[in-house]
Symmetry: C2
Amino acid sequence: MRKKPHGPAVPLIAVDRKGEKPLHRQIYDAFRAMILERRLHAGQQIPSSRALAAELGISRIPVLDAYAQLLAEGYIESRSGAGTFVTSSLSDQFLSARPAVASVVSDPPSDAISRVSRLLPLEGTPWFLGSGAFSVGQIAYDHFPFRVWSDLVTYHARRVRASSMNYSDPMGSEEFREVIAAYLRTARAVHCEPSQIMVVNGSQHALDLSARVLLDPDSPVWIEEPGYVFLRHVLTLSGCRLVPVPVDSEGLDVAAGVKLCRNARVAYVTPSHQYPLGATMSAARRLQLLEWAHSSGAWIVEDDYDSEYRYESMPVASMQGLDPGSRVIYIGTFSKTLFPSLRLGYMVIPPALVSRFLAVRQSNDLGPSHLYQAALADFISGGHFTRHVRKTRQLYAERRNALTAALRKEFASEIESSQMEILGAEAGMHLVVTLPPGLSDQKISARAGKEGLWLWPLSAAYAGANVRQGFILGFGGTKAEEMPQQVRRLRKAMRR
Amino acid sequence: MRKKPHGPAVPLIAVDRKGEKPLHRQIYDAFRAMILERRLHAGQQIPSSRALAAELGISRIPVLDAYAQLLAEGYIESRSGAGTFVTSSLSDQFLSARPAVASVVSDPPSDAISRVSRLLPLEGTPWFLGSGAFSVGQIAYDHFPFRVWSDLVTYHARRVRASSMNYSDPMGSEEFREVIAAYLRTARAVHCEPSQIMVVNGSQHALDLSARVLLDPDSPVWIEEPGYVFLRHVLTLSGCRLVPVPVDSEGLDVAAGVKLCRNARVAYVTPSHQYPLGATMSAARRLQLLEWAHSSGAWIVEDDYDSEYRYESMPVASMQGLDPGSRVIYIGTFSKTLFPSLRLGYMVIPPALVSRFLAVRQSNDLGPSHLYQAALADFISGGHFTRHVRKTRQLYAERRNALTAALRKEFASEIESSQMEILGAEAGMHLVVTLPPGLSDQKISARAGKEGLWLWPLSAAYAGANVRQGFILGFGGTKAEEMPQQVRRLRKAMRR
């Protein structure tokens, strides 16, 4: 006959000896739930491990394990000589006040999140992240040298050493930065040393870091009007004051900027291929902008996002290379030349700012991951990058030609009568087509998105109210022979 | 006899027909330099392409190419009928004022960069990024299942499709988030759905995103004192007001926090294993903290950076799982369980905040890269992760035991007399040893770093002035049999 244990009443615990959960976990979970649900009160005594084991008819070991865990986490406390008790300091108020529902989805009160994050738009944009015809940022995936690339990734994945698994240089791997510096000097006429190169997670990351290093809340900042919507978002997060400066066929209108706000701290520009309208900033404007920056102590951020693709002439030299005084922060990306999910870009930082950027970057994410840096360094120094860019430049030129030809044919009378215009087709992987009066690009884009036609509305690229209606049409991901058909779909979408 | 060309004087250009640089580039570079250096003046006429080609004795084609480029970039302009001229609007002032030296390294004036970035320390910490004995954050690299891992990486590197090269979900891949959610529910008692998981570039990135979503400049924020130095940096960048709250053997002293600043907007805590002192936050304190957060509308950020490694009991359940009202943002990382250069972590976001975090993350870097997410999803769902954690838990327990034994032996009398203490060895991959009075941890650390002994000074973990001297000793990367010798080196470093 089993001896009835003395002591406190044993709570009802059902243990399942054949269950998946180990016994000690079952006991731990049961006690924790009883305490949290107030079936056991603060200060209440619980049975000794011996008594509970006897009651449950199990070995004492799982009970001891469960009690040890409950003790370690502070749900129970043992008082020497007296026994084991539910921790007396457990907050009864909170336990009784716990709502039954685990998660209530409602907008948080406005004072519970940051003001700047509240300014960012939350609505989905139907034309974003689509990968069909005309989606901006799409590349010729099927022409990518998969074999070479995956061989390099595989090689480095197999060649893992402790040093490549450890935290690495927050600026990026030295080898990769040397390769980037050599490429930029040759191909983009950028003045740089590897010590100025920072490897980042795409050009968006570089824009963000630059805003955090350079801008205070309320700092005035020149942005191109129209411009890149995600630049506006990242600047919104910094709390700075946006000064939209109009662009024309020579790029940013520097004189207009000076009139609007001479003392801006930074000018964000896309001189090689203005986004989205496509102008190349003229030499006169470049020198004027540099002059302004030098005389007023401002910085220039040059986002050179797609300069590798230029069809009528050689790639335009970088603006950074014209600047003798280190006022330019230069940004580039591999999202266009290789592929977007790589998430790799770089910036060239003026020597005086390198340590500031480094400190901010370490606070942000410590540094870039290893593998892709190693593979890409080899890809570039092995000549594959230049070869791929040369090959795709021709390919994108064909796609561009096919698109403009199809647009000129399909919209012949509108273009003839200047009701529609094709802009910025000399470079990059997108062009702009403007709309005849009376049409709303956002309405058409929303409709077209439902049918897999991705039309970035031009009007969304404007910060101010004085907008033009049109579409930013990506042509990188659409085959030349499909262009006529896709342009007919575009025409249909516009008609409804 | 060659016909002498009429027209403007031909500038002196030396072209090298056998040079590496193509002829058109040589001509372009020469003209650009002459214009920028004012050897050719704004408005000055330049020779016709025919004349220049004749003068140089080369074909006209490279000259035409170079002129086209100079025209495209706006250095020259053609006036119909009259010929070609250096662009008249080029800014003469700037050209003449250009300093000769390309880069002057000097600290930028204080009004030219953001106030918050100026607050970040720039000096190098000799104990950071070292990978020898006692370096914090080091793992047992040689016990990592290289083969399985690189097979998975290779598999996914070879299986590239357009969808895996394109911009992907800014929250992280759906498959990976499902795997993470399942793991967290089972192993960490986290309440979550995949829709709440955001894949980030390590836990530092998650801390940063949380600060940007939740904090305004001057928002009061509780941080643990002592605490994680890189958390302080990221909060400094947000401009918030730090409220250091003391920790004791039960973790953050909630009552002290309430007394210091009841209306803090966020509390940043490490409940599983307080960094650096190692306390596990007791159940009473957890409930008290949750109660405070609910009653005051504050958020709790739970940084669960190394909870997988616990030696005396099962891993402590997450605090997030105790919270019925979604006030907790939960952060985890693979830097400890796998390896740091992976740069992968995750956060579990309260449903009401998901869209805000998403908007901020898109502005920051658009989203995570593809390959490692795919490989790691397979690694976890294939059971390799759990197996690796189980194996390394035992390994780290041995290393921990060896370290504490060596410390107790080497510093027997100091520990006996309570002049030194060993703290927080129950979990994780580091412990703290405090120093006898009169010793400066930072001085010793600076000396020891030169000899490859990486001692994180405990005093640097304090935000306030009331600091304890000691070392945060990482033991993850040092073999058990080497511990006695390394502890002897530590003793030597302390003696000098």
